[in-house]
Symmetry: D2
Subunit: 215 residues, 4 copies
């Protein structure tokens, strides 16, 4: 079993909860409330903005052979922001003066702190967790889609061939990194990957239940 | 009005909620459940462990005139860990194999990410938020104490003269940093300070309500 | 006088030495030895490789309004590496197993350390110093060129309209950053800018004189 | 052979050059010029100031089991600064408005950049290189001392039992880190260690020959 398969195996209960999550189910069944989806869209917009510094720090610390594959992700995330802006504009969702929720804030801080202070290998496992969760979630939605979704471009974006290839590239690099890693480092990578999955769950929860700061 | 006073003014609703928080009230009235206090003790132990890297990065980026006052905080936090260990041992609270809660994890990531990637001034505002919240919270408990608390050493620790002087030093440095800061930087400092207060509230909530990861 | 003009004014003696530097003069007069130019080409190749992490960390810390203009520099530097590789191949200069010189190593470490631990404003002043030195140096070569240089693509690269616009953009952002900066921060920016110029001079010296580690 | 012994073996030519270096020889023979020693003292004072951020970042990234042994080094370096100040005062060497030399600047940037962006293991190898070079250099001076040196406190400081124990602790930790490291990581550690030795040599050279920026 390759390392990325081991990660998925270790995080199976998280992934099982993710793929049956009400947010995804309601989206697939085209019955998700506009306000709920808008909530997700706004926070995920902030999340993608916050993911750019994460990737940038990773690029700065990447081995040369990984760097050239990783650097384009910065531009890809900037393009994602354009997609959010187009969709928001089309659906009358405001992206001005957004207030970040605790979960979105925490997830971004986790990524940034990891990129700066943990090993590159751990950051890479975190990247895999976040990207794989997107891919699997939206692929699940696509596979369970009933009818025509108003949010089709998001569904396509994170389930298409391009994104699949990005995931494949990450998996290959991750397996190489793990091959060189000590057992204790591998354990840290597993832990970070699992935490990424947990934050993804918290993020879907936040979108569907709403969330605010204490004051 | 000095800058640190302005911060407190801007965060008054947060502080008002903090000082009346059930966790502090029940501690002051010596009727807090052991399991609840143990929950806080365990997570705050992890928090202090995670605060050491935060302070260390700050030391590394501090102006020379601030550095000598800041560096001893690393040793002080290590001594705090000893206090947690003594109290835990005395009260039969285990500190082994603790599982960090989402809120504790998020707060630590926030500190670490800020120290690495935001300006030194913002990190310093975050430090002030965390330390001032401790000081005010435990001073409030001390002032409202009914009887003899089993957790007296914690109450003393964060309300004593030493800790007061540490707070005073932070306030003086912060005011100097703010004097040199642009309006937009001051606004970021205010925002970070407020967020620190929000995380403190989330932390007390977590202690009293319990909290766990989705899976 | 705008801030970027003030920087150039403060660093005039450095710039005067730079623009009359033997390396540039001999290149312009098409009488530079192949081995000397090869020496520069090899080390500058390593330098550009090391500049990518510098820019990446800057991207990670950039204000949103600066980030979108800064991020494409990562791709631009990767393209520069391709130019070095083409030129090296054409001129039979090896880029394999290069040994970095002390000056090239030091300059890269300076950039990386600044990006991580100094303020964003200081990093930006360093970026300006490095890029402006390139632009002015190669523009000087172009203006003083006698005949056809075998190194024409480098001369064009850093003196063309695209590069001029990049410099203009940097100058505009720098002036804005300085407007918001305290006097003491501005002084640090000046110091970093001057140091960048000094390292550029050391780099030309290294190329022409050769340089090696003590052992 | 333990890993730290392997490092020393790989760096033997550097160490051989170091221990016969004119600066150390002249110091041991009590015939070093005051101006030369003052030059070293001033730059090493700046170096120690710059080493504190290096250690602080390392503390922030250290595994828990290493952190408690590493953190006291911050205070120890602050005490070293006091020794420099006492000696400077006694010998009428000014420590005001010092201008850092290129070599001292480069060495500090190397440490800081490594602590921030390389792996913790590499930072630790760099720490070992710097500290071991001090210990061996000053122990060599002590062993070859002819007469009474005016710089006796420095000679004692870095050759005494305390410093020996610090070196021993570093060696033990380093060997453990290397045990867990892949071959490619070990190679990077060796390279960083060797570079530390090279910078030490450049530093002694700078002290004895003088050194200044181009302009």
């Amino acid at each position: 079993m390759s390392f990325h398969e081991e990660l998925l195996e270790k995080a199976r209960p998280i992934w099982d909860t993710m793929l049956g999550h009400p947010f995804l189910k309601e989206t697939a069944e085209c019955r998700i409330e506009d306000a709920v989806f808008a909530n997700w869209l706004q926070q995920d917009y902030l999340f993608v903005q916050g993911a750019i510094p994460f990737i940038s720090v990773m690029v700065s610390r990447a081995p040369l052979c990984v760097r050239s594959g990783l650097a384009p992700a910065i531009g890809a995330l900037q393009e994602e922001l354009r997609l959010f802006e187009e969709m928001a504009s089309k659906k009358n969702v405001s992206l001005d003066n957004l207030r970040i929720t605790p979960t979105c804030h925490a997830y971004i801080q986790f990524m940034l702190a990891t990129a700066h202070s943990a090993s590159f290998e751990e950051s890479f496992a975190l990247l895999y967790g976040a990207e794989k969760a997107y891919f699997d979630s939206w692929t699940w939605v696509k596979g369970n889609l009933k009818g025509e979704s108003p949010w089709q471009p998001f569904i396509e974006k994170w389930s298409d061939e391009n994104f699949q290839q990005w995931i494949n590239w990450i998996e290959g690099v991750l397996d190489n990194l793990a091959d060189q890693a000590s057992t204790s480092l591998q354990e840290k990578m597993i832990e970070v990957f699992r935490l990424a999955g947990q934050y993804e769950l918290l993020f879907w929860d936040m979108a569907i239940k709403g969330e605010s700061w204490p004051v």
